[in-house]
Amino acid sequence: MSNRVINWFRYASPQTFYPLAGKLIPWFWALAAIFGVAGLSIGFLLAPTDAQQGEGYRIIFLHVPASWMSMFIYLVMAFWAGTGLAFNTRLSGMMASALAPTGALFAFLSLWTGALWGKPMWGAWWVWDARLTSELILLFLYIGFIALQAAIDDPRRADKAGAILALVGVVNIPIIYFSVKWWNTLHQGASVSLTKAPSMAAMMLWGMLLCALACWMYSIAVALMRVRTIMLERERHTDWVRALLGERE
């Protein structure tokens, strides 16, 4: 048991994690490409037309994975933030900061694809649909997190402050989602929903899952890339970074 804990902490040290991440990144890229090609070919080539929404529904193969990822990444970010606060490991804070921009990217993509889907379906680029509105607020939360970390010079303090914000955010997200939904039903907003409308044929579901997996692999690859950069920057005075840089000369 104790052996295992030590092992985990060994991998949690930037020095060992850095080369490990470097080795893993190409694999995640390959997986992302495979899942992406498979998911998109099912979604765009094989899946039948939706009776209600025509071909426009194919946007869900992009929109739904992007929305899932944006929410999921926030959870993962909060998880890293929490472990960072609890165990005071350097890696945790770096992981949280590495994930935030990718999460924000997916939140933005979710809004973008949602708007492009909304125009033909609802006749408007933007509708105050509960999901879209929550997604917008999620994007604000990401931006707040990134801005807070950018504004604090000392990386350790930035990590801790960001961690508190991420945890407060994660407690608030369900409340925000619930309140927006409640608000939306009262005001009788959009009745067609992007995720519910097409009767999910098995093939569509497979396409969507594969696309989501591709996004997942992509996120891991990008987060690992970013965390490696953050590590170099923050640990530039340590011996291992010096050795690494010296080697490459």
Partner: protein, 222 residues
């Protein structure tokens, strides 16, 4: 415990009384923002009635935001925050006292002004009453949640703007239930559901928010 909380509230209220300009400024900000809206959207009474809850609530959020940066900044600057952090009680309790004091100074005036400003928007009596009640229940949550943001941005570059960026998204549920309560009254649905949810938020904001706030303050003091 109660003695301590009372001492914190007493101190902060006394300080606020010695520096009344701050309270007055935030209160007038609220009045002016609310009064500008009819000038922007026109004097049509029907339209104003519809807009009133949202306008008053958004103005209340902004007025609260205005007074938040100073919640801890003054104590931080003159070193009293260090003393509070070193006091032999949980810092969360002290923050709790400060949140209550902030509400008394920044939130309560908004509640008292709301019925008067509501009249400008031609609200009916029952809607006025619910508006005031919703502000009374909801503004403590604004102080509580806002304290987290104030602590996180303490001593940070461009703290004021950053504070609004962090806190305003978290205010969304309060805004929805607060303004929704008035809407529900106007449309005849009854405000009970909204008000009880708002009450839950306020309880959460006032009793749970001081702990992350205290953690953020300790980080700022490192």
């Amino acid at each position: 415990m109660l003695v301590l909380i009372r001492a914190v509230i007493g101190r902060d209220l006394r300080l606020a009384m010695r520096r009344q300009a701050d309270i007055v400024a935030a209160t007038f900000f609220f009045i002016i923002v609310v009064s500008l809206f009819p000038l922007g959207v026109g004097p049509d009474a029907d339209q104003l009635r519809k807009l009133a809850p949202g306008v008053l609530w958004v103005a209340a959020l902004l007025a609260t935001m205005l007074s938040l940066p100073r919640l801890f900044a003054d104590d931080h600057r003159d070193g009293t925050l260090e003393q509070l952090a070193l006091a032999p009680q949980p810092l969360g309790l002290i923050v709790f006292g400060k949140v209550i004091a902030h509400w008394l100074v920044a939130g309560l005036p908004l509640v008292l002004l709301a019925p008067v400003l509501g009249i400008q928007f031609d609200l009916a009596n029952d809607a006025l009453a619910v508006l005031t009640l919703s502000l009374l229940i909801g503004t403590p949550a604004l102080s509580g949640i806002g304290a987290i943001g104030a602590a996180l941005t303490l001593g940070v570059r461009g703290g004021g703007v950053l504070l609004s960026l962090l806190v305003l998204p978290l205010y969304v549920p309060v805004l929805i239930f607060g303004a929704g309560a008035v809407d529900a009254t106007v449309s005849g649905l009854g405000p009970q559901a909204h008000l009880s949810l708002l009450g839950a938020l306020a309880l959460g904001g006032v009793f749970f928010a001081p702990w992350p706030t205290a953690a953020a303050l300790r980080i700022a003091l490192e």
